[in-house]
Symmetry: C2
Subunit: 153 residues, 2 copies
């Protein structure tokens, strides 16, 4: 191991800064869209994960691993969403495998209202902007993800 860090070259720095800027601007735009429906990005992500299941619910543990959040963060987020009536905890005494988190009718209503605008924004800003290079972008994203998945936790 060498102690001197390998600073980024100008070309590497250019690429990395473009990606940081993309990350910041895109997420700010998407969050602003969702805010019009009184949803945060975190709310939206959880509601999507729940509506992706046939019965709109997941065990807390499974939900944490689906969205790759630490349990303590998810626990706080679910408490806030429960208070707002977007999800409900369903205890499951019989099997000892822990509680379910279920989307409520109010949660379903709000995500159904927010989704069309959100999808239209994603389509305009990302899908259409990349057009025939979307697959390349997905492949490169997956290359970084593979590296991330190999990191020690």
């Amino acid at each position: 191991m060498n102690d001197t860090p390998a600073w980024l070259s100008p070309a590497e720095q250019h690429a990395w800064r473009a990606f940081i800027r993309l990350h910041q601007k895109l997420w700010a735009t998407l969050e602003r869209d969702l805010k019009a429906h009184k949803l945060s990005g975190a709310d939206f992500q959880i509601l999507v994960a729940l509506t992706d299941t046939p019965d709109g619910r997941q065990r807390f543990q499974d939900l944490a691993s689906t969205i790759e959040w630490e349990q303590s963060r998810l626990s706080h987020q679910i408490a806030r969403m429960t208070k707002r009536g977007l999800v409900a905890r369903e205890e499951c005494a019989e099997d000892g495998r822990g509680a379910f988190v279920a989307i409520t009718p109010a949660g379903r209503k709000i995500i159904e209202a927010a989704a069309p605008h959100h999808v239209a924004t994603v389509r305009r800003l990302v899908i259409d902007a990349l057009s025939d290079e979307l697959d390349t972008f997905a492949r490169l994203s997956n290359r970084i993800l593979e590296q991330l998945d190999n990191e020690p936790r």
Copy 2:
């Protein structure tokens, strides 16, 4: 205009979800790295923007436009960082063009301590993972950014 949203196709959804996952995992990893130096991603971004200038300071307005933050958000962040001694406000009465934000020696010390590890992580997870396709990734990021820059605010 058609009222029915054009939902994402399976291939589009695959690409979009890979990108969301990348965004979440990469930033969580980078934030964890910085946390070891008691810095948030936002702290780091501001300190980098200040060290990028020859004298380590920028007018508040210019800093806001460099990092593309809304003024109210930057104002809160600078107040917190001032309290922690990482930056200082330098009033500039004579020209009426507003105060400077300057990095302090303590701020410089902390970013110099954090940067080598941060750069090593960026290199390992992004630069090396993409290797000869880094330019392609930058080009595609810039395609989305162009679209974002054309959005009405």
